[in-house]
């Protein structure tokens, strides 16, 4: 059954591997073949077939011995933001060209310890700054989905665009992503897959190239909610190497998928009904609400009054933290160093290296961050934004205090747009892609995007569920109910 094995879910592959109906090597070969035939998607940017086959052979030996973990022999794609020992890890930036870490991120260490197989590294926006995968030094990743009767290349979303494209196109069974303002959930919604951003602190950030440290969180991007539960269980857990990692037990997320939400309360936030919201998004949201109601949940209207300030607060806090984090790229310890002219000193080395190494969007955000942190502006911008952030978090706390178990919102303001279509837009227009997702990062909450339907152009649309802090198990169960009720089974027509 190895032909087409790349189209399996993680759960189905696990079961087949354990029954020895399928070998990890055959499954890995099926994915490597699919990956090599999909270069036009530009999802995989560093391929690691030798590592994959060695890991697959080790997984087969472990499976033969019995009692292998869930992910033993499961082929994954890894976002380029994760440091992987001896394998290029450059955050899709020219400034890290040639960088091969001497260490392994905690998340990938845990995945590999559980027997997972790495097929290669995945495309993304440079330093995870972007919502369309168009800021990558590797070029755009492409969405496997196309509008009906139209072959315009569409964005898979961003920043985890390569991860979304690879999972949606069945190049791998699942992928890792990271989410600072929506970078897992928006691309998941644009490609008809599932993506969860866990509670801040649930997954270790150690060895993940930092963007905005108080917002960054890694999570899985998968074909189903069950697969998200399986991956999250392996990625999560306390890590002494990340001081913000929570020392809390990791529940059995798969066991939480009971499909039972009778008596649960779902909040519908009125502030997410934006002016000019497309009728299709409005209808999708109403449809999702009806499905959860039919499943026995109680639906209540809630108010999150500071929602409209989330994007401006985010675009102060994230660039401020990025300007500090990215100060380390100075041409001294790793990555690119500019060629210097006669007489150039160390300042010229820094300035030329960073001008050559960083792309336009990264430069823009580093400079915005530098400005808002500079003397005289720190209180006016950065501290004010952190206070607004506290109010956004309080909005959610007040909603949860009234007994709300989960909050249902759209995942994105539209379906996937065409690559290049936003090229002449104002930077702020691109930032609006994160309007429904960014509040969740600011409040540190878990959020999940679930595919629910197709729009009139034949493109996938998703809804987002937001959970209480540390209650990913409950959140995944709500997502599972939505997934079962929506019955989204559409796949992109293969053209690549």
């Amino acid at each position: 059954m190895s032909a087409g094995a790349n189209t399996l879910t993680v759960a189905a592959a696990r079961d087949a591997l354990r029954r020895r109906e399928l070998s990890a090597v055959d499954l890995t070969m099926a994915c490597l073949t699919a990956m090599d035939a999909a270069d036009s998607l530009n999802a995989f940017v560093h391929k690691t077939p030798e590592i994959a086959l060695a890991q697959a052979r080790a997984a087969d030996a472990r499976l033969a011995a019995g009692a292998a973990p869930d992910l033993c022999g499961i082929p994954l794609g890894i976002k380029d933001l994760f440091c992987t020992r001896g394998v290029a890890s450059q955050a899709a930036s020219n400034i890290l060209r040639g960088f091969r870490p001497e260490y392994e991120s905690t998340v990938t260490s845990q995945l590999f310890a559980a027997g997972a197989v790495m097929l290669g590294k995945l495309n993304m926006d440079e330093f995870a700054m972007g919502s369309s995968n168009e800021t990558s030094c590797y070029g755009d990743a492409v969405n496997p989905w196309r509008r009906a009767g139209d072959d315009t290349a569409l964005t898979p979303g961003g920043s985890s665009g390569g991860s979304a494209s690879a999972v949606a196109a069945d190049l791998c069974l699942a992928a890792t992503g990271t989410d600072t303002g929506g970078s897992i959930r928006q691309p998941a919604a644009f490609t008809g897959i599932v993506g969860i951003k866990p509670t801040y602190g649930r997954v270790s950030r150690w060895g993940i190239i930092a963007f905005a440290s108080s917002l960054d969180q890694a999570g899985p991007m998968t074909k189903t909610v069950r697969d998200a539960a399986l991956l999250l269980g392996t990625m999560a857990g306390h890590d002494p190497k990340d001081s913000t990692s929570a020392d809390l037990p990791v529940p059995d997320f798969e066991a939480a998928l009971t499909g039972e939400i009778r008596g649960k309360t779902i909040g519908i936030p009125r502030e997410y009904r934006m002016d000019g919201m497309p009728a299709e998004i409005e209808a999708l949201w109403a449809h999702g609400t009806a499905m959860l109601k039919d499943a026995g949940a109680r639906i209540v209207d809630i108010s999150l009054p500071h929602t409209k300030y989330a994007l401006p607060a985010y675009y102060v806090i994230a660039p401020a933290e990025a300007s500090s984090n990215l100060a380390r790229y100075d041409g001294v310890r790793y990555g690119h160093r500019a060629k210097l002219a006669q007489g150039d000193g160390i300042t010229e080395m820094y300035e030329k290296t960073r001008a050559e190494g960083f792309g336009k969007e990264v430069q823009r955000r580093v400079m915005i961050g530098t400005y808002v942190l500079s003397a005289g502006f720190y209180d006016a911008y950065y501290n004010r934004a952190r206070k607004v952030r506290a109010l956004i978090k309080r909005d959610f706390e007040q909603a949860f205090a009234t007994g709300v178990d989960a909050i249902l919102t759209p995942a994105t303001p539209s379906s996937a747009f065409g690559l290049g279509e936003m090229a002449h837009a104002d930077p702020v227009e691109m930032y609006l892609n994160d309007v429904f997702t960014v509040t969740v990062n600011l409040a540190g909450l878990p959020g999940i995007a679930v595919p629910v339907g197709l729009d009139a152009k034949g493109l996938p649309l998703g809804l987002q569920l937001i959970g209480r802090p540390w209650q990913e198990a409950d959140l995944l169960n709500h997502a599972y109910v939505l997934e079962q009720a929506a019955g989204f089974v559409a796949k992109a027509q293969k053209w690549w």
């Binding site: 602190g201 100075d330 150039d344 000193g345 530098t370």
Partner: protein, 95 residues
């Protein structure tokens, strides 16, 4: 708050990113646009609000004050664009 060319030049300098003189007006315009978007935050009453520090109250963990690694000079220098005699090499800093 609008950013003029002089401020754009200063920010680029602080950020240690070389920007050509000819590109400064466009940069100033872009930064002004983004800052204008941020101005909305001034509408919010934040009196008495403390800046957010963590998702749920959590004490930072303390670790034992002991050496846990070391002797990995080779690994640390492995990715350096210019390493000599066990050091990172940079252009002359002091005349």
């Amino acid at each position: 708050m609008s950013i003029d060319i002089e401020t754009a030049r200063r920010v680029a300098k602080l950020a240690r990113i070389r920007v050509d003189e000819a590109d400064l007006p466009a940069l100033a315009g872009e930064l002004s646009g983004i800052l204008q978007f941020m101005e909305q935050l001034n509408e919010v009453d934040v009196t008495g609000t403390e800046p957010m520090t963590s998702v749920t109250p959590m004490r930072l963990k303390r670790r034992a004050d002991i050496v846990t690694d070391g002797n990995i000079q080779g690994a640390i220098l492995k990715n350096a664009p210019d390493a000599r005699e066990g050091f990172f090499a940079v252009p002359k800093v002091v005349e």
